[in-house]
């Protein structure tokens, strides 16, 4: 180049980053996955936000349904009803999902997941196996539903060198008011404080005595734990303004009763464990965090687990720094 700056990109480097897939299948790696396998992976990694049947939880996106609704008052846009290219689904799942653990799935697992999403939209049968070979054979219902920006033609009348300045209307009436809906957030500091109070966990009221040792926390370990906690942040909050999200608030969790955060809907097994008197001691939490689904079959926590013991120690130290 003219400036001679930068260096040649190596083939391995390009391979590591250049993962996008185009509608004609350019960029798609070889592999395959079945609906059956996809269903399992989906239940474990995706259902917490997108629902067991890809129907969506809370405000998280629905991935299935909505066929024939695009011209309705409230269209439901899903992979089945709206997305024009299957490449987009594969590419997005591969590079951006699952939320909080992006780019960790194997190629075959991505095929399986996409197969399951197709199945949940009734676009393939339950014995379907998606692969790079049959990828372009899948027909997307809304493939023909898009036109390229035509504003300059369709809205030509908005180019108007002499807009009306006087007597532009006979009368003006108010036809709708925002106050009637009242969905505007409050701005006052008082309100914010009130919300925090309500959302604060009721851990003090738990019947179990705290078992936290009152040793001083190692600030370095706490700092390390804060980094590890990034993996948890997609679902959990700690601190003064923490609220229940996909997972419960974790203030004061170490040493306190399980399943006791106010306003959080726990899974059945977690509720049962709480009734049996489970207390989140260091040891119990460490065991849970190593492999959540093995420790408690049926837990809503979709996290796959912390492999390193020192990461667990660090994150426990960090959580202890939010004792209450």
């Amino acid at each position: 180049g003219k400036f001679g700056l930068g260096r040649a990109a190596l083939p391995e480097e390009i391979a590591a980053w250049d993962k996008d897939v185009a509608p004609d299948g350019t960029g798609l790696p070889a592999g395959s996955g079945s609906v059956e396998v996809g269903e399992e992976i989906f239940a474990e990694n995706c259902a917490i936000c997108h629902g067991d049947f890809a129907e969506g939880v809370d405000n998280w996106p629905k991935l299935a349904g909505g066929e024939g609704t695009l011209a309705d008052k409230d269209p439901l846009k899903t992979v089945g009803s709206y997305w024009p290219y299957l490449s987009t689904t594969w590419d997005y799942v591969n590079r951006s999902m699952p939320f909080g653990a992006a780019q960790t799935m194997s190629t075959d697992d991505v095929y399986a997941m996409v197969a399951y999403i197709l199945y949940s939209n009734d676009l393939v049968d339950d014995d379907f196996v998606l692969s790079n070979e049959n990828f372009l054979d899948v027909e997307m219902p809304n493939a023909g539903g898009f036109i390229v920006d035509d504003r300059e033609m369709a809205e030509k009348h908005f180019w108007n060198p002499e807009p009306c300045m006087e007597n532009c209307k006979d009368s003006v009436e108010i036809t709708m008011r925002a106050m009637v809906l009242d969905v505007t957030p409050d701005e006052g500091g008082d309100d914010a404080a009130a919300v925090t109070d309500e959302a604060a966990p009721a851990v003090e009221e738990a019947a179990v005595e705290p078992v936290v040792e009152t040793v001083a926390l190692d600030p370095e370990l706490v700092a390390k734990g804060e980094k590890v906690f990034k993996k948890c942040k997609a679902c959990h909050q700690v601190g003064e303004d923490a609220k229940n999200k996909t997972g419960p608030i974790l203030n004061g969790i170490v040493g306190h009763a399980a399943g006791a955060v106010d306003g959080f809907k726990y899974s059945k097994p977690m509720k049962a464990a709480a009734e049996d008197g489970l207390v989140w001691s260091d040891a119990e939490l460490a065991a849970f965090l190593t492999k959540p689904k093995k420790y408690m079959k049926g837990t809503k926590m979709s996290f796959s687990g912390l492999k390193k013991e020192k990461d667990i120690d660090a994150v426990l130290a960090y959580l202890k720094s939010y004792a209450d």
Binding site: G1, L70, K73, D74, I174, A178, V183, P185, E187, K233
Partner: protein, 389 residues
């Protein structure tokens, strides 16, 4: 009234001393301005990590948005990426795929340009009717900064674009891997690879250390934490250019590649969050106007819901794809007003009414709502977001 004690009595600040120069090595606004902050509308999204907040445009003046209160939109949270760990790759249909470090980028010739960045969803909650009561919430997905950066053209030429290359696909380093396809013509025109805004490093939430600036085009294309530019033959049609950022019309078909932000304006004061608190007499009506197709040539203001219009005064002549401030110096006698602004740009485009926009697009577009906004200012000076016939 008697003499003002603020004048006649000795005040503490006129007698004692204030802070020394080391009190705030990097200053924050004085405590009395604490309400001038970004705000979130919680019910809009499932989680703040993939969400948006709003610039307090009702409380600002001039045109430059301070970085600290400029709206944020992330799809997987704002990441921390050190300059030392930063790499930018150019690959695809180029003669020589290249990798640049941050230091490399600082050695290319650079430019300074002021541009607005508007989220395509700005005002999107208002398609079906007036919903949110404040200019911050209806129009605050916008900011306007002075960027220092390298023309993307310079970097593409350094790698050597091959003749088969018609598009660039640009992506970020965060977990959302937000990627967009941009036609090569635009990439070679005015797009910047920026690392400074308003004179200082980009903020984390705006893509530190390097983001793309795509003047006049929807904010989603302004890739933050920019890590890769791939020259391609075709558009990649990623999630952000098919499933999202496409505009569904009344008949169920959807427009795609609606990149340009149409001309738009809004009165920022008076407005629901900035009511008139003084008495009758002089009132400054002010607001912002912008266009992705060029510069603002004029703004008309109506106080009667669009029956009659008066040309406002521009704070400074409009510049290309940047915010323009307008003022109407008005003598208010306590009458109710239905306050509107109407932007006009250098392409001859005039900002349409909500009815005119709905007539073409229906109510399900979500994005690109650039209709005329109405504030109902009441006799007590309070204002409300309304729709008028």
């Amino acid at each position: 009234a008697g003499p003002d004690p603020l004048i006649t009595e000795l005040q503490d600040w006129a007698s004692g001393t204030g802070d020394g120069v080391d009190a705030t090595p990097y200053g924050m606004p004085i405590e009395f301005e604490q309400d001038v902050v970004r705000r979130n509308v919680e019910w809009l999204t499932a989680d703040t990590i993939s969400s948006i907040n709003f610039t307090p445009i009702h409380a600002l003046d001039g045109t430059i948005t301070p970085q600290g209160c400029a709206f944020e939109r992330h799809h997987s949270g704002a990441i921390e990426l050190r300059k030392e760990d930063y790499r930018l790759m150019i690959n695809g249909l180029v003669d020589q795929p290249l990798v640049f470090t941050y230091e490399d980028l600082e050695r290319f010739p650079r430019e300074n340009r002021v541009y607005f960045c508007e989220c395509a969803a700005n005002t999107g909650m208002e398609w079906a009717g007036s919903q949110l009561n404040g200019a911050q919430f209806t129009h605050g997905m916008i900011h306007n900064m002075e960027y220092s950066g390298i023309p993307l053209r310079t970097l593409l030429e350094e790698a050597g674009v091959q003749t088969a290359g018609k598009w660039v696909y640009v992506e970020g380093a965060d977990a959302s891997s937000n990627g967009r396809s941009i036609p090569l013509d635009k990439a070679m025109d005015d797009v910047l690879v920026a690392f400074k805004a308003n004179g200082e490093a980009l903020r984390k939430e705006h893509g530190y250390p390097v983001r793309l600036v795509v003047p006049g085009w929807e904010g989603n294309m302004w890739i933050k934490w920019l890590r890769r530019i791939e020259v391609t033959e075709m558009a990649i049609e990623s999630r952000e250019e098919t499933s999202k950022y496409t505009d569904t019309l009344e008949d169920g078909t959807s427009r795609k590649w609606t990149w340009v932000m149409d001309a738009k304006s809004v009165v920022t004061s008076p407005s629901p969050q900035a009511p008139i608190k003084h008495g009758h007499g002089p009132l400054v009506i002010t607001g912002l106007a912008w266009s992705g197709r060029g510069s603002i040539t004029g703004v008309d203001v109506s106080v009667d819901g669009g029956k009659t219009w008066t040309e406002a005064r521009l704070g400074a002549p409009g510049t290309d794809k940047a915010l323009t401030r307008f003022y109407l110096d008005y003598n208010w006698q306590g009458e109710e007003m239905l306050l509107q602004a109407r932007a006009k740009d250098s392409s001859g485009y005039v900002q349409p009414s909500k009815q005119d926009l709905r007539a073409v697009r229906g109510e399900n577009s979500i994005y690109h709502n650039n209709c005329i906004q109405t504030w109902w200012v009441k006799a007590n000076g309070e204002a409300e977001n309304v729709e008028v016939s």
